[in-house]
């Protein structure tokens, strides 16, 4: 069994880069871990971005997961310059008390997964609504217009749920810090919901709005539907920058 307190020098750490069959070690908050046991670090690389043989403390904040994933690999030492590393609890994620805390302890899946799972639905439904409307206009087949209406309803139903889970994720995993992507999503997501809800109400009140021909209100209704596309793309884009951050010049924003 590895000595968890073995002193490892920065030179030794750099040599354990996982390349050419070498060991793959990473440091996090002065502790050194053997990530070579994980299939996600084959060849010493993780996600094509993170490299073994380095101190990843600064990079952890960019990951879609927290430092708790390092509990799945063995600690094999501490950085040599460090005499007494801080308690590992310092790197543990925020956990509220009460029923919610107990629930999250029992089902860690609830911590990060609900929002990424739910956002699929408003994204696709609100892109499908204008797409099927255009298909109707191109083909004249009214069933496509009905499908667009059903998708629009699906989008309006799921958007509030996605917003709520997003707020929960922001509070729980980012401690509601005013991150730029989140601040933009906080403006764009309610706007998206307002536009989608307006279009849905219009279509409910006037089911023939798009079928009566183009002159008149149909243009405005179609304009509302088409406005969903850039709004959905922008909201999804800012969400992706949180889950899949970039490094280097393109990632610096």
């Amino acid at each position: 069994m590895a000595d968890r307190e073995k002193k490892i020098t920065p030179t030794e750490l750099a040599a354990a880069d996982g390349a050419a069959g070498r060991r793959a070690h990473v440091a996090f908050e002065d502790r050194v871990y053997d990530v070579g046991v994980s299939g996600l670090w084959a060849g010493g690389q993780h996600m094509g971005v993170h490299q073994a043989g380095a101190d990843l403390t600064a990079e952890m904040g960019d990951a879609p997961h927290g430092p708790e994933v390092l509990e799945r690999v063995p600690q094999v030492g501490v950085l040599a310059a460090v005499v007494n590393p801080g308690p590992p609890s310092a790197s543990r994620p925020f956990l509220p008390g009460g029923v919610l805390g107990r629930l999250l302890r029992r089902y860690p899946l609830l911590r990060r997964h609900p929002h990424p799972m739910l956002v699929h639905f408003p994204i696709v439904f609100l892109l499908a609504a204008p797409a099927f409307s255009l298909l109707y206009l191109a083909t004249g087949n009214p069933s496509f217009e009905t499908t667009a209406f059903h998708c629009l309803a699906g989008g309006v139903l799921f958007t509030p749920v996605a917003i709520l889970t997003g707020l929960f994720t922001w509070w729980l995993n980012y401690q509601a810090r005013p991150l730029t992507p989140v601040r933009r999503k906080l403006i764009l997501a309610p706007l998206l919901l307002a536009v989608a809800a307006a279009a849905l109400i219009w279509r409910l009140v006037d089911p023939e709005v798009l079928r009566r021909g183009f002159p008149g209100p149909a243009r405005l209704y179609l304009g509302l539907l088409l406005a969903l596309v850039p709004l959905v793309v922008a909201v999804g884009w800012y969400g992706a920058t949180l889950s899949f951050p970039l490094h280097g010049p393109e990632g610096e924003r």
Binding site: L40, G48, D62, G101, H113, H120, C151
Partner: protein, 181 residues
Amino acid sequence: MPGDKPKGTEVHRSGEGASSRELPAWLTRRLEGCPRLKRWPHPAAVHFPIVFLWSTTFFALIYLWTGNQSFESTSFHCLGGGVLSLPGAILTGLATHRLNFPGESGSITWERRLSWLLLALAVTAFAWRWANHRVLLELKGASFLYLALVLTLTPLVTVTSYFGGLLTYPLEAGPPETGAP
């Protein structure tokens, strides 16, 4: 988190075993010029088959419950959307595997196998519904097999995306011990 912590220094390291080393030079240059092409296409593409194939099942059940045929049409249209978007999701998934996960893991293996099975079932159901547009409207005999195919899509999509989700959001090893940050 972007914006509030120091960034890593490199864009794409090509360590030993990283498959990007074997890519054509023009593609490597393109990926280095636009790093998001390396990681973003698959997560973006998978939205579509997940929702369309879930919706195929959902709208078919709504039709069976209400008898409103427009829901059956929507189910068919969603099935079409799923069949069209699934190959793109699979191809971007294979590219993501090659570019970002040089090794093999259980999650990747299962996701790949289930994706092909999902595509086969979805194409079969779509071709069936295309050839016989009344297959679900007259629910008898072989129609139950079509319904079974449609019902199978949802659990299959769920399990496939679960394995994909594990790669981006690994489950935590155990319960944290402390409450406050």
